[in-house]
C-alpha cells in the first residue's frame, strides 16, 4: 500500500471519486505500481512473486511463524495457479510464508482450520490452532511451526469446520437445533459457548449467585477462584455452613449434622445436591461436564434438597433432549 500512496501522490481527490467508469477502474490498479490484491484473476502471477513482510505495523518474524499455522480449507485438491484459493484475509499471511518457501501454497489441504480472529491472535495463534476440531495433521502443524506452509494432505470430503467465534452468523439459540442427538456436537456447542464466554466474562472474576434451599438469603461465589469441582463443593459448604447451622437452631454437636449436609453435593448421594442453571436456561447437575466448560456456561448455582429433585424441571430438561431425538 505504501507504493500505491507514493504513486498516487497528490491524487487524493481522485480517490474520493473513484468510479467514473469501469475501464478506468481496471487501469488504475495496474498503473499504481503493481497494485497488490486487486481482482485475483489476472494478477495471480504478480501476486505470487510479491514479497510481503507481514501485516502492517507488526514485526515480520513472528507473523511469518504465525502465518504458517494459518491454513485454509479447500474442497478439492487444488493445483490452480491462481492465488485465489485462500481468503483474502489469509492471503497476505500466506505471501509472507511464501517468501520462505515457494509453491506449496496451493497444496494446503486439510480439514478446515479457521483460526481465531486475526487481530486478537497476535501471539496467540498457537493456542487457537487447538480449535481445529481434532484433525491430527493440523495439530502436527501446530507442533512444528517452523515447517513450511502446513501439511499437504488433500481432502475431498468436507470436514467439520472448526468453531470460530461468531461464525456462522446465527443466534445462539439456533445452534442447538441439530437434528441428531450426537453428543460430539453438544461438546462443540459448548466450546463455542465457551469462546463466547471468554469474551463475555470480564477478567475480573466470575461471580455467580448461589442459593440454598431453606436459606432465604443467597450468596455469591467467584468461580474463577477455583479450578475443580471439589474446591467448589468445599466453598459452598463454607458459605452456607454457618447459615444452615443457625437455621437449624442447633446446639453445638449438631454442627456435625450441618456439616454432613454438604457431603455428596456432587454425586447425588447427599442430603443436598448442587445444581446450576446454564446459559440456555436449563438446570443441570454440577459435575457432568469438564470444569472449564462448566465455568463458561454457568449462570447461577443452587443447592437443592436431594429429595426435591424429582419435582423440578430437571425432568423437563431430559424430556427436551429426547424430544429432538424422536
Amino acid at each position: 500500500m505504501e507504493e500505491d500512496l507514493e504513486n498516487r501522490g497528490g491524487a487524493c481527490p481522485q480517490l474520493l471519486d473513484l468510479i467514473p467508469n469501469e475501464s478506468d477502474w481496471m487501469m488504475a490498479p495496474e498503473a499504481s505500481g503493481g497494485g497488490r490484491g486487486v481482482g485475483g484473476l489476472d494478477d495471480s502471477e504478480d501476486k505470487k512473486l510479491e514479497l510481503k513482510l507481514g501485516l502492517p505495523g507488526v514485526g515480520g518474524g513472528e507473523e511469518e511463524a504465525a502465518a504458517v499455522l494459518c491454513l485454509d480449507f479447500f474442497s478439492k485438491a487444488s493445483k490452480t495457479t491462481t492465488t485465489t484459493t485462500c481468503t483474502g484475509a489469509r492471503r497476505r499471511l500466506f505471501e509472507s510464508a511464501e517468501s520462505k518457501s515457494e509453491g506449496p501454497q496451493q497444496e494446503q489441504q486439510a480439514g478446515f482450520l479457521q483460526l481465531q480472529s486475526r487481530a486478537e491472535s497476535g501471539n496467540e495463534w498457537p493456542h487457537k490452532a487447538v480449535w481445529a476440531g481434532g484433525k491430527a495433521d493440523l495439530q502436527q502443524s501446530h507442533a512444528a511451526p517452523g515447517g513450511a506452509a502446513g501439511p499437504n494432505t488433500s481432502s475431498q470430503t468436507r470436514a467439520a469446520p472448526a468453531p470460530v467465534v461468531g461464525w456462522p452468523p446465527i443466534r445462539s439459540f439456533r445452534k442447538n437445533l441439530s437434528s441428531s442427538s450426537v453428543k460430539p456436537s453438544v461438546g462443540l456447542e459448548n466450546d463455542n459457548a465457551e469462546m463466547k464466554q471468554k469474551f463475555d466474562n470480564n477478567k475480573k472474576g466470575l461471580l455467580v449467585k448461589i442459593n440454598m434451599d431453606g436459606i432465604p438469603i443467597g450468596r455469591k461465589v467467584d468461580l474463577k477462584a477455583y479450578d475443580n469441582y471439589e474446591k467448589l463443593s468445599l466453598a459452598v459448604k463454607e458459605l452456607f455452613l454457618g447459615l444452615l447451622a443457625a437455621q437449624r437452631d442447633t446446639p453445638e454437636n449438631e454442627n456435625e449434622a450441618a456439616k454432613q449436609a454438604f457431603v455428596g453435593l456432587l454425586d447425588g448421594s447427599g442430603e443436598y445436591t448442587l445444581v446450576y442453571e446454564d446459559n440456555e436456561g436449563d438446570k443441570m447437575f454440577v459435575g457432568d461436564v469438564p470444569w472449564d466448560m462448566f465455568v463458561s456456561t454457568v449462570k447461577r448455582l443452587r443447592v437443592l434438597k436431594s429429595s426435591d429433585l424429582a419435582a423440578l424441571r430437571l425432568g423437563a430438561v431430559s424430556r427436551k433432549r429426547t424430544a429432538t431425538e424422536s
Partner: protein, 575 residues
C-alpha cells in the same frame, strides 16, 4: 414563507409518515422545524448513543411511539461483550419525565432491567405496546410488572430475548379487567407458564389476533387455547410433541380446523412429521410459515406440507429441507417474497443440506422473491448469476457459505462475479451480506452498482484496503458497514473520514486497523465516537502504554451528537 400559514404547514406535515420525509422537512427553516417536531408521533433512534435521550424527549414532546436500537448487529453473534452497553434505563427515565403520553416502545438489542420495566409500567397511563427484540437483562418479574400496571395493554411482543425465569406467576398478573390484548408473544421464555391463567387471559381478550407460545406449553394446552381463540391470525405453537394415537392429537386436528383466520404459523418445537397433518387445513391460507425450530420435519412429509401452502409469502425453514424441498417450494409458492434457510447441523461434517441448486430452483419459481437469508455449504458463480437474472427485485440478500473463504467448487474461482451479478441486477438492493472466497473485485462491483445499499456485512473477504475504499466511495446511501476478519487497515479507515458522518455506524473486528489509526480518526472527527473494545487480559493496562501500532480487536465507530458516553465499561475505550 412568512405569509405561509403555519396551520397549512401543519396540515401537510401531518400526512408525512416516514422519518426521512419528516427529517427533511425539519431542516427547511425554523418554523417548519417547530411544526414538524410538535407533530411527530413516531420517533426512531437507530443508535442509542447517537443522542442523549433527554434531547429526544425535549424535541418531540408529543411522541406516542419510540423505537431505540442499542448494540451493533454483530452482538447477535457474540462479538460484542456482554456488558458493552445499550442500556434502556436512561431512555425510559427520560421518557417518563418528558413524554408521559407515550403509548408504544420498541427496543432492540438493549439491556433492559426489571426496574426499567417496572418504571415503564408505572409511568405511562396510556401505554399500549411493548416490543422487545434481542434484549436481555430482565426476568419474568419485570413482565409481571408490565402485566400488573399497564392498563389497556394491547401488545406484549418478546422476540428472541434472554429472559431470566423467576417463575410462572407473571402471567397471572394480568388483572381480570385486562381484556384489551391484541398481540402476545412469549415464545422466547424458557420457563413454565401458568397455563390456567393463560387460557383465562385468552378467553377474555376477544381482540387477540397474534399469540406466540413458548416451548413449555403442551399440545393439550394449545388445544384449549385454540378453542377459546379461534380468530387468531398469527399463531406460534408451543411444544408440538404429540402422539398420533392420543386424543390430544385428534383434538388438535379439530382445533386447527376451527382456525379459519390463521395466516401465520410458527413454533413447532419438538414437532415431528406426525403432527403435520393437523396443520393441513390451515395451509391453504397461510402467508407465513416458520419451521426453523423443527429439525425433525424434513423429507417427504415436509414437501407434502409445502405443497399445500400455495399462498405463502414468507417461509423460514432449516436446511434439511434440501434442494428437493426447495424445488417444491419453487413450484408451489409463487407469491413467495421472503425465504430464510437456516443451518441445522453446523458442527456436522455436512449432510447434504441445501446447495446452489436449491437457490437456483427458488429463483426460477419465485420471481417475487425480495428477501433472502440462505445458509449453505457451497455456492457457484453461475448459480448466482442465474439467481440475479431471475430475481431482480431483491432488497435484502444475505448469503452465508458456512466455510469462510470457500471458492466456487466447480471453478475454484472467487465469488466476485456472482455477487457482482446480484448487485448489478438488483437495483433496489438495500442490504447485502457476503461470504465465500472474495477478492477486492467484489467490492469494486458493489461500489459501482449498489447505489441504494444501506447495510453491508463482510466477513473473511477482500485482499487489501482497496476493497473497503471501493465500498466507502461508491455506496452513497451506505448507513451500516460491518466487517470482520478482513485485511482492511488504517489506510482504508482514514481514506475518507467524513464518510462516517453520513453513516450510522462502522464495525471492524479482527481487521488490520491499529490504535494509531483509530486515534487519528478520533482526532479528525470529533463528531464520531470511536470505540475500541479490548478484551484481552493486557487491556487493563494502560492505554498509554500501548503503541500506536497495536492492533485493535474491535472497533465501533458511530456518528453522535452526544460526545462520548458515561456508561462504557472498562474494556471500552472511547478515543
Amino acid at each position: 414563507m412568512t405569509y405561509f400559514p403555519e396551520e397549512v404547514v401543519e396540515h401537510i406535515v401531518d400526512f408525512l409518515g416516514s422519518h426521512r420525509d419528516r427529517n427533511a422537512v425539519s431542516t427547511v427553516c425554523k418554523a417548519w422545524y417547530q411544526v414538524e417536531r410538535l407533530s411527530r408521533r413516531n420517533v426512531f433512534v437507530g443508535n442509542c448513543y447517537a443522542i442523549r435521550p433527554e434531547r429526544v424527549m425535549a424535541r418531540f414532546p408529543w411522541m406516542k411511539s419510540l423505537g431505540v436500537k442499542g448494540k451493533p448487529h454483530f452482538a447477535d453473534f457474540n462479538l460484542v461483550p456482554y456488558d458493552w452497553g445499550g442500556f434502556a434505563q436512561p431512555w425510559i427515565e427520560a421518557a417518563a419525565r418528558g413524554c408521559p403520553g407515550l403509548e408504544e416502545l420498541r427496543l432492540k438489542r438493549m439491556v433492559v432491567t426489571d426496574d426499567d420495566l417496572e418504571l415503564l409500567a408505572r409511568s405511562f397511563p396510556s401505554f399500549k405496546s411493548l416490543v422487545l427484540v434481542s434484549c436481555e437483562g430482565f426476568s419474568t418479574d419485570g413482565l409481571a410488572a408490565i402485566a400488573t400496571y399497564c392498563r389497556g395493554l394491547r401488545e406484549l411482543d418478546l422476540q428472541e430475548n434472554e429472559v431470566e425465569d423467576h417463575g410462572r406467576q407473571w402471567l397471572s398478573c394480568f388483572p381480570d379487567s385486562c381484556t384489551s390484548l391484541v398481540s402476545l408473544n412469549f415464545a422466547c421464555l424458557k420457563g413454565e407458564i401458568n397455563t390456567n391463567a393463560l387460557e383465562r387471559l385468552v378467553a377474555r381478550c376477544p381482540d387477540l389476533r397474534s399469540l406466540k407460545l413458548n416451548r413449555a406449553i403442551s399440545v393439550e394446552s394449545l388445544n384449549r387455547i385454540l378453542a377459546r381463540a379461534p380468530h387468531l391470525v398469527d399463531l406460534g405453537t408451543g411444544s408440538m410433541m404429540v402422539n398420533h394415537h392420543t386424543e390430544a392429537y385428534h383434538r388438535l386436528i379439530n382445533a386447527f380446523l376451527g382456525c379459519k383466520s390463521l395466516r401465520s404459523l410458527s413454533g413447532f418445537w419438538d414437532a415431528s412429521s406426525c403432527c403435520l397433518q393437523a396443520v393441513y387445513p390451515v395451509c391453504v391460507n397461510l402467508t407465513a410459515l416458520n419451521l426453523s425450530y423443527a429439525p425433525a420435519i424434513q423429507g417427504d412429509d415436509l414437501i407434502k406440507l409445502i405443497c399445500l401452502c400455495f399462498k405463502l409469502q414468507k417461509l423460514w425453514v432449516l436446511d434439511c429441507i434440501g434442494d428437493k424441498g426447495l424445488a417444491a417450494v419453487a413450484s408451489t409458492c409463487k407469491d413467495l417474497q421472503e425465504l430464510r434457510v437456516f443451518p441445522s447441523d453446523i458442527y456436522g461434517a455436512g449432510t447434504t443440506a441445501v446447495t446452489e441448486e436449491g437457490l437456483v430452483a427458488i429463483s426460477s419459481g419465485c420471481s417475487k422473491l425480495n428477501s433472502l437469508l440462505y445458509f449453505c455449504y457451497q455456492m457457484t458463480n453461475t448459480a448466482l448469476v442465474t439467481v440475479a437474472k431471475n430475481c431482480p427485485h431483491f432488497t435484502r440478500f444475505r448469503l452465508c457459505i458456512l466455510d469462510p473463504g470457500k471458492p466456487d467448487p466447480v471453478t475454484d474461482q472467487p465469488l466476485d462475479e456472482g455477487f457482482g451479478a446480484i448487485v448489478r441486477s438488483c437495483k433496489n438492493l438495500r442490504r447485502l451480506s457476503l461470504s465465500g472466497l472474495l477478492t477486492d473485485k467484489v467490492f469494486l462491483y458493489i461500489g459501482m452498482h449498489a447505489e441504494h445499499l444501506e447495510m453491508l456485512s463482510i466477513a473473511f473477504a477482500g485482499d487489501s484496503d482497496k476493497g473497503m475504499v471501493y465500498v466507502l466511495n461508491g455506496c452513497k446511501n451506505l448507513r451500516k458497514l460491518e466487517i470482520r476478519d478482513c485485511p482492511f487497515g488504517d489506510d482504508a479507515l482514514l481514506k475518507d473520514v467524513t464518510k462516517y458522518e453520513t453513516m450510522r455506524s462502522l464495525w471492524m473486528s479482527s481487521c488490520d486497523v491499529t490504535l494509531g489509526g483509530c486515534r487519528a480518526l478520533a482526532a479528525k472527527m470529533p463528531s464520531l465516537n470511536v470505540e475500541i473494545i479490548n478484551e484481552s487480559d493486557e487491556a487493563d493496562e494502560f492505554q498509554e502504554n500501548l503503541s500506536d501500532l497495536h492492533k485493535v480487536e474491535k472497533l465501533y465507530v458511530y456518528r453522535t451528537v452526544a460526545r462520548g458516553r458515561t456508561d462504557a465499561p472498562d474494556f471500552v475505550w472511547i478515543l
